[in-house]
Symmetry: C2
Subunit: 349 residues, 2 copies
Amino acid sequence: MKITRIDKSRIDQADLENPVFGTQFSDHMLVCKYKNGKWEEPEIKPYGPMSFTPALHTLHYGQALFEGQKAYYMSDGTIGIFRPEMNAKRLNHSAKRMFMPEFPEDLFVDGLKQLVEIDRAWVPKKEGYSLYLRPFMFGSSEFVAARPSEEYIFCVVMSPVGPYYAGEVKVKVEETYTRSASGGVGSTKCAGNYGGAFFATDQARKEGYTQVIWTDHKNHELIEESGTMNVGFVIGDTFITPPLSDRILAGITRDSILTLLRDTDIVKNVEERPIKVEEVIAAAEAGTLKEVFGMGTAAVVSQISTIGFRGTDYKIETPKDGYAMKIKKALTAIRMGDADDKYNWMVRL
Amino acid sequence: MKITRIDKSRIDQADLENPVFGTQFSDHMLVCKYKNGKWEEPEIKPYGPMSFTPALHTLHYGQALFEGQKAYYMSDGTIGIFRPEMNAKRLNHSAKRMFMPEFPEDLFVDGLKQLVEIDRAWVPKKEGYSLYLRPFMFGSSEFVAARPSEEYIFCVVMSPVGPYYAGEVKVKVEETYTRSASGGVGSTKCAGNYGGAFFATDQARKEGYTQVIWTDHKNHELIEESGTMNVGFVIGDTFITPPLSDRILAGITRDSILTLLRDTDIVKNVEERPIKVEEVIAAAEAGTLKEVFGMGTAAVVSQISTIGFRGTDYKIETPKDGYAMKIKKALTAIRMGDADDKYNWMVRL
Ligand SMILES: Cc1ncc(COP(=O)(O)O)c(C=O)c1O
Ligand SMILES: Cc1ncc(COP(=O)(O)O)c(C=O)c1O
């Protein structure tokens, strides 16, 4: 790894107290280029502009993907990263499907660690704050023809972020627009999945909702995800989340929560299985739908207070000491190093 | 329109005799920026690099789309562009679905004309050669958060291209991977649709095919498109092509061919209707499948010689004076100004 340090840190101009998500970037970035069929030596260097011609492949053909995770101060004052090897694996899952080269997983984890170490002044110290790490990769050949890029750039930038507060989360069951289909790219974090989702999300906003709940491409009957989070339901004392498929992003938070729930007595039963919109609505009407929440890196757990379905709003409790909050607490304890890390989830700097 | 001319043309270094598609670019490009909710004054300026930070929105969230069309010398020595207003409309159709701002259609057409005029030395004179025009648009804000870009860049670059020769075209009916779904972005020319297709195309290549025939997302029973072309079948003396939907790109070549076929006696019947793979295979077995061809800007008409389906290769005639070639001839006559342009398709410089 080549390391070129910035002359003078920009940290004194940064706002680590009230950071706006994804708008300030730390002093350094990691860049690694793929050329002639192989990855060159990665370089950590000053964050700054890149120069491309308008023929940049990804602008036309969208071979682009990303990851997202956080580095933060644990209770004992070390900086930790949560399960970074899972992001490395998922990046490569996305890469394969997008016909992009895989990036060495150990280099991914090691690169993140070195980069955070160099910019450790950028890791906010306030509780709930963190340094958001954004690895991404894109086709960087400069030609305009509908065939795969030959060159790629893997890059990591970092941005200090505050605690996630979404306010009241009202979601609408989306029955018109589709995020992904069997055989498609829905299980990847390719850029196009996000650009393709903005329209439906905006429609939902205009109707007074915060987000959509995506349903299956065939009949819009099955629940898939909510916005950019996986989604879980507690019906009676059973936790239910849709199974993974090539239509759903395999969330690392989802995986961690499933592991925790199977290992604790927070809920009685844990089910990964297809769940129909009608089952959720019936449970809401019967009063057995206890809680609904999104699962993702940003909020860890995000309680949903309303599900809108065909014009009717179904209210859901968002208790401060219910299932969602118990899960969040248990996960946070591991993340902060306050509970036994028996799954070896934390990678410390 | 602001115009800044290049100091010295690069035309003397260009190869207009044997151009490689999309690798050489003409002297100028058109750039127009969208900021604070409106398009700024467009500028024609020297083709050259753009500088972005790694937080460039489109690298992460894929709001990116493009168009493709050609300018070429007509028989009377004027330079013509084929139905550019259709590309302008389609760009805006894509833009809406990708939650991007629409670009004024008259400015699109006028911009192309002015740009080609300035770089007219780049329009190859050889028959079958042309200047490929590539309008495209992408989200250009520089933040990393999963919400729509606030700024956008519309750009047009141009590349001299030779006649399209694909060799023998063998297509494989794709029953595993999916290009698009109802409610998705399949009817747009968003970048992600292309990046998402490379993997399946490569699989088909490895099995000895040139391209895939995409089938519907639900059951892989209905024929959709072939690679980046719309597809037509002649069964008996009937031309059949799948109807437009939100899963299929509305090809301008397809539209033009439908218009021509309905207005001439090249085929007896013209049908836009869902067509099942099994219908095509049955016709191939019965000997009534006369011809199959792709329709698109690149090749106009591209004859398909083989359809691979579940391990069996069905051979199809590719006659030099059959339906496909009659259609190509009729369309080419209009494009070259040799036949009456009764639909007003040609825009001359
Ligand atoms: C579409 C989608 N689903 C789910 C998730 C949750 O994944 P994770 O828990 O790994 O953050 C994300 C965010 O990464 C996402 O973008
Ligand atoms: C997916 C797809 N289908 C069909 C077409 C054919 O469209 P057109 O005839 O406008 O070139 C294209 C090419 O633009 C395409 O990319």
